[in-house]
Structure formats: structure tokens, C-alpha cells
């Protein structure tokens, strides 16, 4: 073996250094000649004569130099070149065939490349941080409240940081998407994150300019008096033109706080997602009870090199137990969950992406099936040519190689076209992808994606080339050369039939998947959202605090008044029916919940929650203006909606010494069901942590219908509505109902908002339907993708079926003609044609049904309101498929039925 390898090595060397080999050969021959002359001279000839006779005996050197060269050369390189030339020539002769094959392969390979680039960019590629596999996301959990991934309280964070031995560092972050920043004269909204100063060190990404935040002091405060800010690359480029002297410059945040720019993060740094500015926040070693109780931070940690995630989880669980014992009021019932950061970012996309990859994989297989089918049909047509070549002495392996080369050439063309297609598809995917899909910017045609494409192209080449090659293995020499052999040979007809069977099975599986997703999507769309989105326009607005007239640092009363005026004026605008505002629009809530308790719960006092965790409830708290329920069409089940009278005078807002009055509250049915099952909650006084800023408590004055506030698929959770006039804020989502088309009133509404209050910043005006659409954009995207691919699969399979049955009819034209002449009925002919052609199709349907049931189990995570085993979806898939297959067979079958006996005899 080693000797043989060495022989190959020499051959390679020779090929690379052809010149050297030539020279060596010349030298060797010269030496031979010399020895021969010397030998002859030794036998008595004079030297000149000896050399002459030696050369004569030697013969023409060029002749066998060529022979030696022939041996030296890589024969197969020559052969390959010849085969390629032949293949290219034959493809040029049959442009239709070539185009069909290349297009089919390009579709399959392009779709796979595009989807794989998404799988790679989102799921497989490591996160762009230092040792990303050691990064974990931390959550607080509460089984009783049904929270399995909740935000973290600063108190928990501080204790975890000091007690954990498996985490080397921990950081908190909190995103506020609409932070107003003034750079020079312009004021802009910049997504900002408030973060622990350690965050950048923890992720291992230093700023490209300037420095990170200085750490916290031991007393848990930030070392510097002046505010600091680190800005994102995009912000830097946009606002400062990428100038290096940005470090040390000052920007002004809302409320006119000057912030010194100390660093610039690199392009692509996107943590937390979307942030373009980071300000530090310290949490000291000692934390008050409030900081233990109010959980609203995101938290990440880095594992020590010697610790594993399960170890860290066990430790965190133990720490959570200690905290439960130490601080029952704030921590009873709360646990900690650790999850790899990667999983927490993209975990929920995993099922969708893998299903998509499986689906496009199926499409590629079907595409391959059709290509093999075409190649077999072609090889059947060229059977005579092949037989002639075999008879003329072409070696079998040459014919074999010839088919392989044809397959490889077609696959390469398909691969190149597919890659080009993929580049377009990826752009399309990224553009159509639902908002909020993480790591979308990493979905590109990268090297690993290229390798993947190369891999599947090679596989395709082997499949596309090998099957016809396999059939060319034993050319039916005599049979094919026989005159009148239209129904003589039958290479690959069986293979083709089974190929179609396989395609049918795969197509059915894809159709069933799409049908399931479709049914699930319909179920999702039918979910009563709890409000009437039609006819409502929504606008996100805010009053930047710098633009308020109030001298007081507590502009709350002014906000309450100005917003009240705003919604009232809007409501009386011609063309608009009602107008209102809410703190967070339905379906966009981030799921933060607030602690709520009965005012008379044991131990509760003022803003202090009751000590028993059992008495502390969690609920969404929404702040709304009076007309909200009417504008949104949310039914009031008992009691009343808010009224303009649910407001406070200026004093409670601006004067902390004034005793806080009683406010009003409206709860949803979910809350009423949970805490007052079968009872009347009206009149009960509750305290919500936020609501207790200006009010002593809120008396429940009404119960309204449930609304899907976080996601369509998430059942409603307990919610408390408080009057905006009793808990004002600077930002609000306006909802405006119009009698006409929402899109049509948008420009007028924008103008009207400006007219009413010039200080208002309006960020997003859109129909509420768009918000609803956004909420289901992910399943809709999944469905659209699956549908597109299933449609493609169906088309390919139909082409395949038609091809097989069509070929069958052509092959049997004479037989059909003869049978018709002998009096066979149309039914007989149908049975003849379809009996053979449809058997694999029927078997494919059976196998596909079984496969679809199996595949559906992987879909469970993507489905809503429907089980993976769904006879309706399956029936739908079979019906669609059968319909298409029938149409596909119609053309060849009609041809068979029209065959006239005379025509049949002319077929040769």
C-alpha cells in the first residue's frame, strides 16, 4: 500500500513538474545510449561507428518518449476532459432537458442553502461573545403564579452575585426602547439599556473606542459623579460621523441630564437586542425590601471555567431556597432558572427552523427524484447510442464514468444557479421575516453555508449520475440494436416508478405539514382577542419631560391634564368616533407583572405589601384613559368603566404631605375568577405597587372582559386597569376608533395630533390590525414558507407523475392500438395505463401518510389549538395531492384513450 502511494506521489509530482520529468527521461535515455556505445566500442568498433550503430539500434527516441509520457500522464484527466466535452455537447443538443434539470436542481439547492443559512446564522453559529458557551441567562420562576421565565429582582441579583461560586460574574440589564437623547440641537429616540457596569467585561467585548464602565465601588455605587454613557456603533456613525473625538463629548438625555460618552461599542454588538446606548446602574451589597420584590431586570451570568450549567443550576436553586428562608416576604415561592444564553435567545425558533430545514430537504429529495427521472428517460432514449458505443468497444467503466460526469456537470450547474438563487432568497427571507427575530443580521451566505451547498450539490451529483450509470452498467446490446425496439428495452422504468412513489410520499408529508400549520394558524386567527381591532388606529406618543411647562420635577399633574385634553379633542374630531390611551397596547406587553394585594390583607400597610407571599398577587397593570374600553370594544361585565371623574386634584401629585386619596380600579375576568371565584369583587380595595404612588388604594369599580395582552396564544392573565388620571406617565399608546378605513385617517390623525399639542412626539401610527398581524407574524411566516415549499414539492411531484405515466403511454402505444383494434373498451385501456402507473403513487400515499404522522410529532411545538395527529389536515393533504395527481395524469391518459389502431401501427 505504501509503495502504491509512493507511485501515486511520483505520478502527481510528474504531472506538476512535467518539464523536470521530461529532462530526467532525456538524461536517462542519453545515459543508455552512452552505455550502449561504450559496450559496442568494447566489442571492437571505433567510437564514432559504435555511437552510430547504437543510435540505429536504439531507434527513434521521440516515438517511445511519447509512449512513456502516455504512461506518466494522468489518463483520467484526459478522459475527464473528454467526458466533460461530450456531456457539454450533448447538453447543448438538448437545451430543454438541460434547462429543466438545472432549474429543478437550482430550486432545490437554492431553497436548502437559504434555509440552512438561517439555521446556521441563528442556531449553529456561536454567539459573538468571548467563550459564548459559558454565558447563561438567569430567570426568576414562580410556580404558583405560572411564571417559568420571569425577570430578576436587584435583590436576588446582589445575593446571587455574592453567594455563587459557579458564576464568575453576573450582570443586570433593563431596556427602555424610547429614550430621548439630545445631541447638539437634535433630539432623537435611542434604544437604551440600563446595565450593570460589569456587562461588557462579562460578555468579553470591549469598546472599540474609549473604555468600558468603571466597576462599582464596595458601597455599591458608581465611582463617578457625572453620568456616563457608552454608545453603539450605529449611533456613533449616524450622530457623530464615526469621529474618534466623540469620547468625552456630552449628550443630554431626557430631563436634561448631561452624560459623558466614555466608549463606543463595535459594530454588530447587540446586547441587549436593539440597544444603541448603555448607561450604568449599580446595585449595592445591601438592598432594601423593595429591591427584592420588584422583578423587572434581565440578567446574564458567566460560568466559571470549571463549572457546568447543571452545577450552576443546582447552586442557584440552593441559593433561591436560602433567599426564600431569609426573605419570605419577597422571595417565598420564587426560584431561579439558568439557561444557556444561546438557548434563551433562539430556543423558541429551534422547532420552526428545523422543521423548515426538513421541509426544504424534502423538496431537494423530490427535485433529485425528478432529475433522476429525467436522466433515466434520457438514458432510455439514448439506449441505442449507448449500445452502439458498447458494441464498438467502449469499456463499461467508461460508460459508467460518462454518466457520472454528466450527473456531476448538471449538479454543478444546478449548484451554481442554486447559490445565486439562495443569495436572493436570503435577502427575501430577511426582509419578510417577522420583526424581533433574533440574529437575523447573521443570516448570510457564509463559508459554512457554502460548504453545506457544496455538500448537497455533491450528493445531488452522485444521486443524479449514479442511477443512470447503474442502469448503463449492463447495456442491452442486442435488444437495443434490434430494429423496432420501441418497446424493447425498459431501463429504469421500475426505478422511475419507485422514484415517483418516493416523491409522492415526501410531497404528502410536506402537504400534511402545511395543512397542520394552516389549521393551527386558522385556530390562532380565530382566538377571540377580547377587543375589536377593526377600525382602530393606534399611535405611540410621548411628552419628553424637557418640553413640559411644569417647573416642578413632578410634572404628573400636567401630564394627566394634557393627555386628558388630547384624547378629548381627538374624540371630538370629525371622522373619529372615540379616542383613548393605554400604557401598553394589547399583544405587545412584555409580560412584566406587578405585585397586587388586598388593602386589608394581614400585615399590609400603605405601600408595604403583606408579609405572606400568599397574599401577594401578581397581575398585569395597565393604565388607561376613560374611553379605552369603549374605543377597543372591550365589554364591561359588571360595575362601570372609568369616567373623567376618576382623577385627583394637583395636590396628591405635587405635595407628598397631602394624604393620598382612594383611586379606582377595574379588573379583568381572569383576575375576578382567580381571586373572587363566584363572588362579587366590586368595592374591594386593592393596592398595586405602582398605583400606590399617588393613591392610598384603588377600589374595584368594574370587571371587564379578558384581553390577550402578551401573545395571541397566551391565555389571559389577571390584569388590573387603573385610570390614567390617577397614575399618569409621559408615554402612552393612543387608540382611536374611526368609522372609515383606519389607513385612510392616518395622515389626518398625525396632523391633528400636531395641531392639538405641538410638544407631543409621535413615533408610530398604524392600524391596530397591523399590531395584531405583527403578533401572529411568526406563525404566518412559518406557514407561508411551508406553504411555498409544499407547493413547489407538489409541482415537482406532479411533473414526475406525468413523466412516468406519459412514458408508459408512449411505450405502450402499439399495444394500446392493437388492443383497441381488438375491441378493448376505454375502461380496459384506462386500467392498463393507470394500473401500472398509479400503483407506486398509491403506495407513496400510504407511506407518506405514515411519514406525515411521524413528522407531525416534531411539529407539536409550532402548533396551536390542534394536536399533531389531525385527520382533517391529513385528509386535506391527501385530497389536494390526489386532485393534483389526477390532473397530472389526465394529459397522458387522454392521449392513451385517443390512440387509434392505425396510429399505433405507425409508431415505429
Amino acid at each position: 500500500m505504501r509503495d502504491r502511494l509512493r507511485g501515486w506521489g511520483k505520478r502527481l509530482r510528474r504531472m506538476v513538474r512535467r518539464r523536470t520529468a521530461e529532462e530526467e527521461l532525456r538524461e536517462e535515455l542519453a545515459f543508455h545510449l552512452e552505455m550502449e556505445s561504450a559496450h559496442r566500442a568494447g566489442e571492437g568498433l571505433d567510437p564514432a561507428a559504435a555511437r552510430r550503430t547504437a543510435r540505429v539500434a536504439f531507434g527513434g527516441t521521440e516515438r517511445f518518449k511519447e509512449e512513456v509520457r502516455e504512461v506518466q500522464r494522468f489518463r483520467w484527466v484526459e478522459d475527464l476532459r473528454r467526458d466533460l466535452r461530450q456531456a457539454a455537447r450533448s447538453f447543448r443538443r438538448t437545451p430543454g432537458f438541460t434547462a429543466a434539470v438545472v432549474a429543478t436542481l437550482a430550486l432545490g439547492i437554492g431553497a436548502n442553502t437559504a434555509i440552512f443559512s438561517a439555521v446556521h446564522g441563528i442556531l449553529l453559529k456561536p454567539l459573538p461573545y468571548h467563550q459564548p458557551d459559558r454565558l447563561v441567562r438567569l430567570w426568576e420562576t414562580n410556580q404558583a403564579a405560572g411564571i417559568d421565565r420571569g425577570p430578576v429582582a436587584p435583590g436576588t441579583f446582589v445575593d446571587l452575585r455574592s453567594r455563587s461560586r459557579t458564576l464568575e460574574s453576573v450582570a443586570l440589564y433593563f431596556t427602555s426602547p424610547d429614550w430621548l437623547v439630545t445631541v447638539g440641537e437634535t433630539t432623537r429616540e435611542v434604544p437604551r439599556a440600563i446595565v450593570s457596569p460589569t456587562l461588557f467585561d462579562l460578555l468579553g467585548i470591549p469598546p472599540i473606542l474609549g473604555r468600558g464602565f468603571l466597576g462599582e465601588t464596595d458601597s455599591g455605587s458608581l465611582p463617578e459623579e457625572t453620568g456616563q454613557v457608552i454608545i453603539g456603533y450605529g449611533f456613533w456613525q449616524r450622530e457623530f460621523g464615526g469621529r474618534a473625538d466623540v469620547i468625552g463629548q456630552t449628550i443630554h438625555s431626557e430631563g436634561n441630564t448631561p452624560l459623558e460618552i466614555v466608549g463606543v461599542m463595535p459594530a454588530g454588538f447587540d446586547f441587549p437586542h436593539g440597544a444603541q446606548a448603555w448607561t450604568p446602574e449599580a446595585h449595592g451589597p445591601t438592598v432594601g425590601r423593595v429591591q427584592r420584590q420588584f422583578r423587572y431586570y434581565g440578567a446574564v451570568g458567566r460560568l466559571r471555567p470549571d463549572a457546568t450549567l447543571p452545577e450552576a443550576q443546582a447552586e442557584a436553586t440552593a441559593i433561591a431556597r436560602q433567599l426564600e428562608a431569609d426573605h419570605p416576604a419577597s422571595n417565598a415561592g420564587w426560584g431561579l432558572r439558568l439557561e444557556s444564553l444561546h438557548t434563551s435567545l433562539v430556543g423558541d425558533l429551534r422547532p420552526m427552523l428545523w422543521v423548515m430545514l426538513a421541509v426544504v430537504g424534502g423538496v431537494l429529495l423530490i427535485a433529485c427524484g425528478n432529475v433522476v427521472n429525467l436522466m433515466l428517460a434520457r438514458s432510455a432514449a439514448r439506449q441505442r447510442e449507448v449500445a452502439v458505443r458498447a458494441a464498438l468497444g467502449a469499456e463499461r467503466r467508461h460508460l459508467f464514468r460518462h454518466w457520472l460526469v454528466e450527473g456531476a456537470l448538471l449538479a454543478t450547474l444546478g449548484g451554481v444557479a442554486g447559490m445565486a438563487l439562495a443569495a436572493g432568497l436570503i435577502r427575501l427571507l430577511v426582509r419578510l421575516a417577522p420583526d424581533g427575530l433574533p440574529r437575523l443580521d447573521e443570516v448570510t451566505l457564509s463559508l459554512p453555508v457554502g460548504l453545506f451547498t457544496l455538500g448537497i450539490t455533491t450528493l445531488t451529483a452522485v444521486v443524479a449520475g449514479l442511477t443512470p450509470a447503474w442502469h448503463a452498467r449492463r447495456p442491452h446490446r442486442a435488444g437495443a440494436l434490434r430494429v423496432g425496439s420501441a418497446d424493447g428495452g425498459n431501463p429504469g422504468q421500475t426505478t422511475r416508478a419507485w422514484l415517483v412513489g418516493g416523491e409522492v410520499a415526501l410531497t404528502l408529508m410536506l402537504l400534511a405539514t402545511t395543512a397542520l400549520l394552516l389549521r393551527s394558524f386558522i385556530r390562532l386567527s380565530e382566538v377571540p382577542l377580547g377587543f375589536q381591532a377593526g377600525g382602530v388606529v393606534t399611535a405611540d406618543v410621548r411628552f419628553p419631560s424637557g418640553r413640559l411647562q411644569s417647573e416642578n420635577r413632578r410634572p404628573w399633574f400636567e401630564l394627566a391634564q394634557r393627555y386628558q385634553r388630547l384624547v378629548e379633542e381627538l374624540g371630538s374630531t370629525p371622522g373619529l368616533t372615540t379616542a383613548a390611551g393605554i400604557s401598553t397596547l394589547p399583544l405587545t406587553d412584555d409580560g412584566l407583572e406587578t405585585t397586587v394585594w388586598r388593602r386589608d390583607a394581614p400585615g399590609a400597610e400603605g405601600r408595604r405589601p403583606p408579609p405572606s407571599a400568599h397574599d401577594q398577587w401578581l397581575a398585569e397593570v395597565h393604565v388607561v384613559t376613560p374611553e379605552y374600553f369603549r374605543t377597543m370594544g372591550i365589554p364591561v361585565h359588571s360595575g362601570r368603566a372609568f369616567e373623567p371623574a376618576d382623577r385627583f386634584p394637583a395636590e396628591p401629585f405635587n405635595d407628598p404631605t397631602v394624604p393620598r386619596p382612594m383611586g379606582a380600579a377595574i379588573i379583568n375576568e381572569a383576575m375576578a375568577r382567580r381571586h373572587w371565584p363566584g363572588q362579587d369583587p366590586l368595592g374591594v380595595q386593592i393596592v398595586t405597587f405602582n398605583g400606590a404612588i399617588f393613591a392610598a388604594a384603588h377600589e374595584i369599580v368594574g370587571v371587564v372582559g379578558d384581553v390577550r395582552s402578551r401573545a395571541v396564544a397566551e391565555p389571559p392573565r389577571p390584569a388590573v386597569y387603573l385610570p390614567f388620571a390617577q397614575l399618569p406617565r409621559s408615554d402612552l399608546s393612543l387608540v382611536v376608533r374611526t368609522a372609515g378605513s383606519p389607513s385612510a385617517v392616518i395622515p389626518a390623525l398625525a396632523a391633528r395630533l400636531r395641531d392639538i399639542d405641538r410638544d407631543l412626539v409621535v413615533s408610530a401610527i398604524r392600524p391596530l390590525d397591523a399590531v395584531v398581524g405583527q403578533a401572529v407574524s411568526r406563525p404566518r411566516f412559518t406557514l407561508a414558507l411551508a406553504g411555498a415549499f409544499a407547493g413547489l414539492a407538489l409541482l415537482l411531484a406532479a411533473v414526475g407523475i406525468q413523466g412516468v405515466i406519459g412514458y408508459l403511454v408512449v411505450r405502450r402505444t402499439r399495444e394500446i392500438g392493437v388492443r383497441t383494434a381488438l375491441g378493448a373498451s376505454r375502461g380496459d385501456i384506462l386500467r392498463l395505463v393507470l394500473g401500472e402507473g398509479l400503483r407506486p403513487v398509491l403506495l407513496g400515499i400510504l407511506v407518506g401518510t405514515a411519514g406525515a404522522l411521524f413528522l407531525a410529532r416534531g411539529l407539536a411545538g409550532l402548533l396551536f389549538g390542534i394536536g399533531p395527529v389531525d385527520p382533517v389536515s391529513l385528509g386535506l393533504a391527501i385530497a389536494v395531492f390526489t386532485g393534483t395527481a389526477t390532473i397530472a395524469t389526465l394529459v397522458p391518459v387522454m392521449r392513451a384513450l385517443r390512440v387509434a389502431p392505425t396510429e399505433a401501427l405507425r409508431v415505429e
Binding site: L5, R6, E27, E28, M35, F58, F64, E67, V71
Partner: protein, 109 residues
């Protein structure tokens, strides 16, 4: 060239080269001489078949060619039998004997 001397049959040349090299490493001319000598001038190895054969055997890994200095300014390409060449010689030899025996058997009838 005497009428009793023959060109070496194509298939057997490889065998003869291997056999020659089994004794000791040799260069091309010496191989042709040795075959001629051993066959008592009955066999002539044409150079036109010798060098292609050497290339072929080298590529198969049965022999290994390398330059060796023959004097201050002269060098010759010497061929050595490799391990697999030795094994090939054994199998080729027995195959040849079997072939000859078969042919002989037929000729005796």
C-alpha cells in the same frame, strides 16, 4: 539480430524486469543487458518497451527509481524492487508458470 532471438512478449516484460531487479538494483541499460545475457541472447528488450515498462512499474509502486552518482559528473537512474514489487514478482511468477503449464498441456494433446 539472429532469427532465434525474439522481442520480449509484452506481458512478460514486466515479469522479467522484476526478476532482474530481484537480484540487485540496476539501471535501464543494465536491465536490458541482463535479460539478454540470462536468456543467452534469445530475448532482446527493445528500449521502446523497456522505459515505458519501467515507468508503469514505478507508478504501480513495484519498483522505485532514484538517481545515483556513477562518477564525478555522471549519474544513472537505478531501479530497486519494492516490497510490493517482491510480492508481485511471486504472484506473477506463479501465474506465468500456471499459464505455461496450461499451454503445454494443450500442445501435448
Amino acid at each position: 539480430m539472429s532469427s532465434s532471438s525474439h522481442d520480449v512478449l509484452r506481458g512478460t516484460l514486466d515479469l522479467l524486469i522484476l526478476k532482474t531487479l530481484a537480484l540487485e538494483p540496476q539501471h535501464g541499460w543494465a536491465i536490458s543487458q541482463r535479460i539478454q545475457q540470462l536468456s543467452a541472447d534469445a530475448l532482446q528488450v527493445g528500449q521502446g518497451s523497456l522505459y515505458p515498462a519501467l515507468q508503469r512499474l514505478e507508478q504501480r509502486g513495484w519498483i522505485d527509481g532514484a538517481w545515483r552518482m556513477m562518477g564525478p559528473q555522471r549519474r544513472a537512474r537505478y531501479y530497486t524492487l519494492t516490497g510490493s514489487g517482491r510480492r508481485a514478482l511471486a504472484t506473477e511468477t506463479s501465474r506465468w508458470r500456471a499459464y505455461v503449464a496450461t499451454v503445454e498441456l494443450i500442445l501435448q494433446t
